[in-house]
């Protein structure tokens, strides 16, 4: 029996361009080699097709979505479709006037990322002086009475600041703070030796976050995302392949996750060549890891198979070479010893300085 899947969220990666160069960027390593960006009209058609499929949430992200000069037109179009439109941004380059305009056109919420509460550290991680402007952008968001999510990607160099991060989120009246440990794929995997925290760091941060969550219940949501390397079970990546989310990348590829096209051997379609509904329901890429027919052992007989869906396909591929394997982050996975060896290595090198490799390429500068 074929299961009818409904997407709820469209993640529109409007561009891979970004003024920042964070060493854990979630864009693909070869983003700079990608073809151009799809046009305004194509995005507006994609929003319409997504809404017809059942999408109610729209995340405008990148790269840095503010670099799209047609952002106003996209927000306006989404608003006409009654999509709940979230802007996921570094806060740069933004002006108060532009944000007020986006709000008037129907923008519903803004997520701003900072890299650290210490300006010098934040600027070093971002690879660009940006902290003060981000702070200002967050204040604009709340002064316009838009709900603000403050996002911080956690890693070895900033995870000890967790109390200060939560305090800053309270100070800027954030609606939600995302304490999201880097996920070790793409650029973060390349920089893992410099980024992965130790178990002690993770446990301490988790406790601080849990205390803050209880204290701030109903006022500010405190979300803590554990890195897979310290989890017992894998994440339900994207809540399951092709179940809830559609990502459309800057060049128009429709994907189950933002890195799915980096897995060799899968075929994904471009929204300029095929309708979104057709892609969602019938494309081989979206159907490849749907349902549980494809599940390997030990997932196949595991009680958690409907909870985590075998975990992250990209991580399975990067560690085992087989995208159809159990996510090695799972303690029950045949390849879990790899994760354990990385953890051991991390505890041995804790405190040793390691250089970042910044994301680079022509895409890293605003054109």
């Amino acid at each position: 029996m074929r299961i009818e899947h409904r997407p709820y969220t469209l993640i529109a990666e409007l561009t891979y361009r970004c003024p920042l160069r964070c060493p854990y960027c979630s864009n693909p390593l070869d983003y700079a080699e990608q073809a151009g960006e799809i046009a305004t009209d194509t995005w507006l058609r994609v929003f319409h097709e997504a809404e017809e499929l059942g999408v109610v949430q729209l995340n405008l992200t990148g790269g840095e979505p503010l670099l799209r000069e047609d952002l106003e037109l996209l927000v306006e179009g989404a608003s006409k479709l009654e999509l709940y439109t979230n802007l996921i941004t570094s806060g740069i380059p933004l002006t108060f006037e532009r944000l007020a305009r986006l709000r008037a056109l129907g923008l519903k919420s803004v997520q701003v990322s900072i890299q650290s509460t210490r300006p010098s550290v934040s600027d070093r991680i971002a690879g660009s002086p940006s902290f003060d402007r981000k702070l200002e952008a967050m204040q604009w968001v709340t002064s316009l009475e838009l709900p603000l999510t403050m996002n911080v990607v956690l890693h070895r160099d900033n995870i000890s600041e967790i109390e200060d991060i939560i305090a800053l989120a309270e100070r800027v009246s954030a609606d939600r703070v995302e304490l999201a440990n880097a996920q070790y794929l793409g650029w973060a995997l390349r920089n893992r030796a410099a980024l992965l925290p130790t178990r002690d760091q993770i446990e301490r941060a988790r406790t601080v976050a849990a205390d803050a969550r209880a204290r701030l219940r109903g006022t500010m949501e405190v979300l803590f995302v554990t890195p897979d390397y310290y989890a017992t079970y894998p994440k339900s990546c994207m809540e399951g392949w092709g179940r809830r989310f559609i990502v459309v990348n800057p060049e128009g590829l429709a994907l189950p996750c933002h890195l799915a096209h980096t897995i060799p051997g899968l075929r994904f379609d471009n929204v300029t060549q095929r309708g979104l509904a057709d892609i969602w329901h019938h494309s081989s890429g979206f159907n490849r890891f749907r349902g549980d027919g494809w599940l390997p052992d030990p997932c196949r007989s595991c009680d958690r198979r409907a909870t985590d869906f075998g975990g992250c396909r990209c991580q399975a591929f990067h560690v085992t070479g087989d995208a159809g394997a159990t996510d090695p982050a799972c303690s029950l996975a045949p390849d879990h010893d790899y994760i354990e060896s990385v953890r051991t290595q991390t505890s041995l090198t804790a405190g040793m300085p390691v250089l970042f490799e910044y994301r680079t390429g022509r895409g890293s500068c605003p054109r």
Binding site: Y84, P147, R217, G218, T219
Partner: protein
């Protein structure tokens, strides 16, 4: 906000949008990057969070619709649902 102590009138937070879902015929409650699919009762409760009614008044109103359900049970369900909303920052007391 602890719902147990709330006697004021309540409304949905400003960030919340109720959106009628033509696939299910029910409302969805949307907020930043998230959403809840409401069942029929939850939808009726959410639609009454307009700032005009207290929690007890909302429960009494529903008791008039669901005459077969004991009022105590309705009150418990209203309370639990609104407490879950409050915990997510989706409900506000009127000043």
């Amino acid at each position: 906000m602890s719902i147990a102590t709330v006697t004021a009138k309540v409304r949905l937070s400003q960030k919340v949008r109720l959106r009628f879902d033509r696939r299910t015929g029910r409302d969805m409650l949307l907020y930043p990057e998230r959403g809840l699919e409401l069942n029929k009762t939850a939808m009726e409760i959410a639609r009454l969070c307009t700032g005009e009614w207290t929690i007890d008044e909302i429960a009494r109103h529903l008791a008039q619709i669901y005459v077969d359900v004991p009022p105590g049970e309705i009150k418990r369900q209203v309370h639990d649902f609104l407490d879950a909303l409050a915990g997510r920052g989706l409900l506000r007391e009127m000043p």
